[in-house]
């Protein structure tokens, strides 16, 4: 159990962050990470070290995220519990926060597998092969997913920004 605790501790933050980028909120991400770690605990005796442990971990996290997205939950808005901050925010901080929300929203609009491709490639800085292995797809298929994801993100983010600037 000590070894298990150490293993979970080592990968906990990464797993939560990947799940949060996939699902869009921290609470769901923590739930998914818990499910993932319990699955790893149950299946550990059967795991064969044919690939890196992190590849297996990411695959379980992504599958758990996709399963969660398919489930129908009552709408739980974070805003209900959010304490309204009445302190005035510096303009640059506000702009940065808006951009962050915009990217988050754009990512959530992507199909799940395209989002996963971007998260693994950009945020986790995985090689294309490692990312493809984590997603359980061929390298060519992964590259296609990434290409299409970036095209869509460009449409959501870059071209919308240009239109906003030109006023069209």
């Amino acid at each position: 159990m000590c070894a298990y605790r150490e293993l979970v501790n080592r990968h906990l933050i990464k797993g939560v962050k990947v799940a949060e980028r996939m699902l869009g909120n921290r609470q769901d991400a923590e739930d998914v990470m818990q499910e993932t770690c319990l699955k790893i605990w149950r299946e550990a005796p059967r795991w064969k070290p044919q690939a890196k442990f992190s590849t297996w971990l990411y695959r379980v996290v992504l599958n758990a995220c996709l399963d969660r997205k398919r489930q129908v939950f009552p709408a739980m808005t974070d805003e209900l519990d959010e304490v309204i901050d009445e302190q005035p925010m510096a303009e640059d901080v506000m702009i940065e926060k808006q951009r962050s929300e915009r990217v988050k929203s754009a990512l959530q609009q992507l199909p799940d597998r395209q989002r996963a491709a971007v998260v693994l490639n950009y945020y986790e800085e995985m090689s294309n092969q490692d990312a493809a292995d984590s997603m359980g797809v061929a390298l060519g298929a992964y590259q296609q997913l990434l290409f299409r994801a970036k095209q869509k993100l460009r449409d959501y983010l870059v071209e919308d920004e240009d239109e906003a600037k030109t006023g069209s």
Binding site: M1, Y4, V8, E20, M33, C37, S100, K104, Y123, L153
Partner: protein, 116 residues
């Protein structure tokens, strides 16, 4: 052109920050996970042979092999030859066996017939 477009997308993606969990919430989550795991049994690995038997492809291969052997046997005529050949029992053997059967069912006719 494509590299420039990728660079633009990447620069946007850099704006999306996901904060690390703070130490207290990280520890709380870790404790919760370990506590839950301690209540769960681990799946025992199956022995190699039972895993092999459970593999569908092994069963399919064995069935195919059996069909292939049977097909070859039928096709080569060996089955036909074996089936068409009548089983003939020599007359001596059939009379001895009927004598023994009679002794068993009806019993010996005299002490002389009682032989072990």
């Amino acid at each position: 052109m494509r590299q420039k477009q990728d660079h633009e997308v990447d620069s946007w993606l850099a704006h999306y920050e996901v904060a690390d969990p703070d130490d207290s919430s990280r520890k709380a989550l870790l404790d919760k996970i370990v506590a839950a795991a301690s209540l769960l049994p681990q799946d025992r690995p199956q022995p190699f042979l039972s895993r092999l038997k459970a593999e569908e492809w092994v069963q399919d291969a064995a069935a195919l092999a059996a069909v292939a052997v049977l097909g070859f046997w039928i096709g080569s005529g060996s089955f036909g030859m074996a089936a068409s050949k009548p089983i003939s029992v020599p007359s001596e053997v059939s009379s001895i066996s009927s004598t023994y059967l009679n002794r068993i069912i009806f019993g010996p006719k005299s002490w002389k017939e009682v032989s072990l």
